[in-house]
Point group: C2
Chain length 340, copies 2
Amino acid sequence: MPITIRDIARNLNLSIAAVSRALDGYPDISKETRQRVITAAREMGYVPNRAARQLRRQKSDAIGYILSSDTPRFASPFTSEFLSGLGDETALHPFDLLVSIAPPGADAEQAIYRTWVQSRKVDGFILDQVRTQDWRIRFLTEQSIPFVGLEHSKDGIDYPRVEVDNTASMAGLVAHLAESGFQRIAFIGGPDQLVISDERLAGYRQGLADRHMAYDPDLVQVSDQTSAGAYEAAKRLCCLPNPPDAIMCVNDETAFGVIHALHDLGLLVGKDVAVTGFDGVTTSAHSDPPLTTLDIPVYEVARKLVNMLAADLEHRSLPERRIVFTPGLLKRRSSGDSPS
Amino acid sequence: MPITIRDIARNLNLSIAAVSRALDGYPDISKETRQRVITAAREMGYVPNRAARQLRRQKSDAIGYILSSDTPRFASPFTSEFLSGLGDETALHPFDLLVSIAPPGADAEQAIYRTWVQSRKVDGFILDQVRTQDWRIRFLTEQSIPFVGLEHSKDGIDYPRVEVDNTASMAGLVAHLAESGFQRIAFIGGPDQLVISDERLAGYRQGLADRHMAYDPDLVQVSDQTSAGAYEAAKRLCCLPNPPDAIMCVNDETAFGVIHALHDLGLLVGKDVAVTGFDGVTTSAHSDPPLTTLDIPVYEVARKLVNMLAADLEHRSLPERRIVFTPGLLKRRSSGDSPS
DNA sequence: TATAATGCCTGAAACGTTTAAGTAGATCAA
DNA sequence: TTGATCTACTTAAACGTTTCAGGCATTATA
C-alpha cells in the first residue's frame, strides 16, 4: 500500500489539509511544521497519487501527441527524431507525454481527439502534419484546449507554432540543381491537404519560375510520404516519354524510396538522376549515396514545441508565439556533389 | 464542461449508480434501461473521466516504458522501431503508453521507477536493455507490479519475456565471416552489465572456438552502443600493431559508427575490413555499404511484449511466458557479399 | 478593555467514478 | 396470508487529493 498524505498526517498529528498545504508551500503553514512534513514525507517515501490530484485539480499534467494517419509510420526517421525531441523535453518539465496513433479515417481521428479532451487525459496537444484546413485546430480552439503546432494552418487562427521557411528554401534547392546542370526537374509531393505539401510545391514552382524553367504538370506526382509510395511514383516518372533528370521530394523518406527505385532501374543516383529530400533526418547522411536535403533541426523543433506548450500550460507568457526556422541546404552526392 | 455520469442520470431520472452499472454491463440493470443509458451516453457525448475511474479502481490503464540511460538515444533506429511496435500494439488494447527517459545514474533510474509505481502512474512496465543483474526486475517483482522484458536477467526470477538466441546466432556469424576469408575478427560490445553484451560476446567466443580460431583479448572492445562511441573503438582497433580484418558489433548502431571510422581511415568496408551489426534495423539496408547483420524483428518483438503484458494485466492467462526469436542472417556488402 | 488583525491550523466538501449494502415492489411457494 | 426470492433499482461510502470557509490563540490597535 502506497503512503498517502493521511499517513503523514496521522504520524505528525496534523490534519491532512495542513500536510497538503505544507507540501504545496502555502504561506499559512509555519516554517517549522513545513520542515517536519517535508522530512516525514521523504522518509516515508510519499509520492502523491496522480489520479486523486488530477481529479481534484481537473488537470492531468500530461501533454498529448497523436500521430496522424497521414504520417507514414511511427518508425519513420522524421517521426522518431520528432518523438525523441518531445520525449527529451517533456522529461525536463513536470509533464508526462502521452503518445498514440490515430486510426486511419477522419472520423476515427476526431474520435480520439474528442476522447482525450473529454476524459481530460491530457492538458494540451502537440500537432504536426498540420493541414491547410485543419479541423483539429478549430476544435481545440473552440474547446479552449492549449496546443502548439508544427506549421501554420490556413484557418485564420493564430496559435503558438514553429514554422519552416518551406517556399524559399525549396526555390533555393531548385537553383542548386539547375546550377549543377540538371534540366528537367520533377517533384514528388505528399497528401495535398498538408501545409508542407502545399508550400514545398509552391517553392518548387517558384524556383522554376525564378530560373525561367518551364513548369510541366506531368513532372509533379502526389505520393504519401512513404518510401513505398515514392518508389511507385518514381517509377511512374521514369516511364514518361521525356523523363526527368532530377527528382525533388517533399521529405527524406520519399527520397529514400526514389533512390531505391532508381537503383532498381539501373540509374546512377546523383549522375543520371539527381534526388533531393527535405528534413535532413540523420539517416540521410548514411544513405547510398548520401542525400542532398534541406535540413530542419527536427529534434530542436520538437523541443521548442514542448517548451512553448509547457509555458502556455504553466501560464508563463511565451517569449515568442511564432518561431521560423530556415532550413540549411545540405549538398551531398545524390545531387551530384562529390563526397566531401 | 465535459459530460459526467451524473448528467446522464439526471436526464434519465436514474441514480448515478444505475448509469454506471448500465454502462459497465452489470446484469442487475434491465435490458431496456441499459439501452436508454447507452444511447443517452452516446448522444450526450459522454466520456468517462479517467482520473476518477483510476482513483476509484486503483489502476491507471496505462503501461510504462522508461528508456534506460544505457540506451543511446530516444532516436536510435532500434529504439524507434521498438517504440513503434509498443505504440502500435498498445493502441489495440485499452491501455495508454507512457514513455519517459531515465536520467543517467542508477539512483535517478530507481527514483523514476519508484515514483511511477507509487503514484500508480502505470499498471505495468515494459523493460528492455535488461542487465544480467537487474534491480528493476527484483524491485517490480517485490512490489508485485506486472512487467515483461526483452531478454532474461540472471536474477533467477521467472518473468514473461522475449528472448533472442544471441549466442548461437553470433557464432554463426563468425562462421560466415571466416568462410568469406576474414581471419582476424574483432568484437565491439556494449556495457557489460547488459544481457545482450554478455551473450553476444559469448557467441563471438564460441564462434571462434568452433573454427579453432584464437581468441585475442586485444580484439575485444567495450563501447556504449552509440555510433560515436563505436567510432572511437574502431579507431583503437585499427591502431593495433596487428589490426583486425573484420569487426563484429553488438548492434547496428555500433556498426554504423565503425563504418564511419573505416571510411575516414580510407579503408574499404566489406573488402579491407568486414563489418557486421546486430538487430537488422531497417536503416541497415540503406547504409553505405549495406550492413550484414542479424535480423531481429524488433517491431514484432515489441508488439509481442505489449501483448504479453496486456494479457497479464487483463488476467488472461498467457499462451507463452517465454518466446525465443532466432535472428536471421542478412548477408550484405559490409561483409564482402556482392550486391544482390 | 474591547476589537481587529494576524498566524497557524482544522473540518468538511468536492472532484467523478465504482461498488457494497440496502430496499421497494413483484412473484411465488406453502 | 406470510415469508422467501427475485428483479431492478437507490443510497451512501470510498478512492486521495485540494481548497474554501472557518476557528482558536496570540498579538496589535484604538
